[in-house]
Symmetry: C2
Subunit: 414 residues, 2 copies
């Protein structure tokens, strides 16, 4: 008998039929003797509609009122899920963010969870009642509704699991786990049985949209194993059929490389001929940071003449116009020219095993070279190597790397 938090995403509660299917899964967990808290997203499409309403009134809306509007989607699903559980014979009630309460910061629209009161929830769970908690929402110290930012329901679920001391957080979604790469590009992509928090964070931040990055961060910090599994298949979390995101130590058969990630949401900016003097990087990046533009890969070439140099970095493609505007205002940057490109993509090799294995990077460069793919920028971390390439080559690069590291589905013995 364990305490489990189960989270259902938007497509898993898209309509009454899907909500009932989710409720039946929870009923099976309860029948197996587990205590369960359920976290629900809004029905798919609802949040977009509510966001659109706010934007239609004013693009510069008061985020506190935006939170009142958009948090209603999860409220509806929470009530409906409680009703569906009751229908299937499971005692249940909904607990809205302000009822739990889930305390958050005052940063409306992207609030951070600061604490979750669990005394009453524990009492109810111990008495056999399922607690249904709307994801994405909390309450501020001023008693106003806050939301955690898009995809925040994953964060709600993991934070609730941590606060309750749950054994596991099951994330039910429309894919059945975490794959070695995007199966739409590589049909032979293999579902991972286990992956470390650190690798999952890299994959999530690199565009594998299975889990929100922030939720994996919390899971790593609080050591809450997350299981990613499909609500569209006939199994439940306790059968463990998805991908378990857990501590590195708990993964026995460590692979050198776990997956190949890619992201098309990139744009490249190069400042040509900036003076090669101390402080020039600060002149470039401080204004960008102040404007809230997230700079990713940064490369500064060695100065050829000792006087000037070129600096290249990447920003999210949607921020490119704004980044150009910000840089254009920095007269004392003294760049001879600013060159930008938005036909670039980032491809990354991720694997916790690469810290103890040499040759991972060279294999990447060789593989790309063999296919005639030019590398524009390189960035590395402990468990990741990323390269920026021309966008047209993304699929080719991902397929070649997936094969080079031997990540395909193993052939079944006949």
């Amino acid at each position: 008998m364990a305490l489990i938090v189960a989270k259902f995403g938007g497509t898993s509660v898209a309509d009454i039929e899907r909500i009932e299917i989710a409720a039946k899964k929870i009923a099976r967990e309860v029948a197996a003797g587990h205590k369960v808290a359920v976290v629900v997203s809004a029905m798919s499409g609802v949040t977009n509609q509510l966001v659109e309403y706010c934007g239609k009134i004013s693009p510069l809306y008061d985020v506190r009122e935006y939170d009142v509007v958009v948090s209603s989607g999860e409220q509806v699903t929470a009530g409906l899920m409680a009703l569906a559980l009751q229908k299937h014979g499971v005692p249940a009630r909904s607990w809205l963010g302000w009822q739990v309460p889930i305390h958050t910061s005052e940063m409306h629209g992207k609030a951070r969870i600061e604490g979750i009161e669990t005394e009453e929830l524990h009492k109810r769970l111990d008495a056999g009642e399922v607690a249904v908690v709307p994801g994405f929402q909390g309450v501020t110290g001023r008693n106003r509704i806050s939301t955690l930012g898009r995809g925040g329901s994953d964060t709600s679920a993991v934070a609730l699991a941590a606060a309750l001391g749950a054994e596991r957080c099951d994330i039910y979604t429309d894919v059945d786990g975490v794959y070695t790469t995007d199966p739409r590009i590589v049909p032979q992509a293999r579902k991972l049985k286990k992956i470390s928090y650190e690798e999952m964070m890299e994959l999530a931040s690199l565009g594998a949209k299975v889990l929100q990055t922030r939720s994996v961060e919390i899971a790593a910090k609080m050591d809450v194993p997350i299981q990613v599994l499909s609500s569209f298949e006939d199994h439940i979390g306790s059968d463990l059929p998805g991908t378990l995101v857990t501590r590195e130590e708990d993964i026995v058969e460590q692979e050198v490389v776990s997956g190949i990630a890619y992201s098309r949401d990139e744009a490249k900016v190069t400042a040509l001929g900036v003076p090669d003097v101390p402080g020039v990087a600060a002149k470039l990046f401080t204004p960008l940071a102040k404007a809230g533009i997230n700079v990713d890969m940064i490369v500064q070439n060695v100065s050829a003449d000792g006087k000037s140099t070129d600096m290249t970095f990447t920003v999210p493609r949607v921020e490119l116009a704004r980044a150009q505007e910000v840089i254009g205002k920095q007269a004392d940057l003294k760049a001879t020219k600013i060159v930008t490109a938005d036909n670039v993509a980032k491809v990354s090799v991720v694997g916790i095993g690469m810290t103890s294995h040499s040759g991972v990077a060279s294999k990447m460069f060789e593989t790309l070279a063999e296919k005639g793919i030019n590398i524009q920028v390189i960035a590395t971390s402990e468990i990741k190597i990323s390269v920026l390439i021309e966008e047209d080559y993304v699929e080719l690069a991902v397929r070649a790397l997936h094969a080079a590291y031997g990540l395909e589905e193993k052939k079944k013995a006949v």
Copy 2:
């Protein structure tokens, strides 16, 4: 400078355009120096959709969870209205039922307002901020969301106006006031400038669906003048262009008859040959009351033989089947036969002036007789005479009575 509560119904906040039009009206009230609290319904259609979701899961749902689901519609509109007001330069914030708080009974789905805390609201109103309150919702002593029953937003508005000591409660809707009768039946129906609380209660309970009966009861008890006006016309409540529902004493030109109401939601039940002994009425009506069936008109004929009598009464048409079932179980009623009819309608003449004028009833009976309309049952109150007739004659009866009491629009002087 006055404090006004303005309520906008579902069609008046049906989409973003309508919400903006409503916000502009409030902005004009604020510009005129008034303090304003706004009460909003859900966008039209939204509540029905949410009710349908609950019913689809289970017809016998937990009303506490139903309240969580259906209250979300007004929450959305409240946030959007606050945003729209801000856009038009008016400081505003939303106050959900649990934030005000609006305390209600534990009767989920049809809770009664027990108290509204106004200290903080008054502070904000005094500081020039508009308070936007979702109608229909409150919070119970157990800190759960409650709703007041369909049409409850009118009640929210009037109760808030009473609690705040508002000068007036403006109800913006899709009709421009209260008419002497249904203009779809009588095109010459005249809009009333003023009507007493008592008359409005009779009209509301008789099917004139402009205001919820309960809201008029509270208005009468707390003496809150209500103004009914159209949000689809270019005027605001402070211009007083609608119908004012107020105290009898405040109506100078009292009319004998104010209006002709009708209701098709009626069914007739007759118990033939029941023993003419004490207690027989209790045997019939106590079980109906226990089943929650609202009995309206009751007639007991004089016993012809001193041994048995016939009893006739009306129930809402939707309750007829259930009423028959309840009566069928009363074996000791000893009726020889139960006869029912659902092709009946109630037509009523309402007017506070009739208490001091004779001849109102006789004029009604004469008028109907002239048109060959048979009266099946008669019921009277201090300010109302109702008759039950065959449903096919409704329009004819209403038109004839409207003319007989001289309620038509007065011809303009040339």
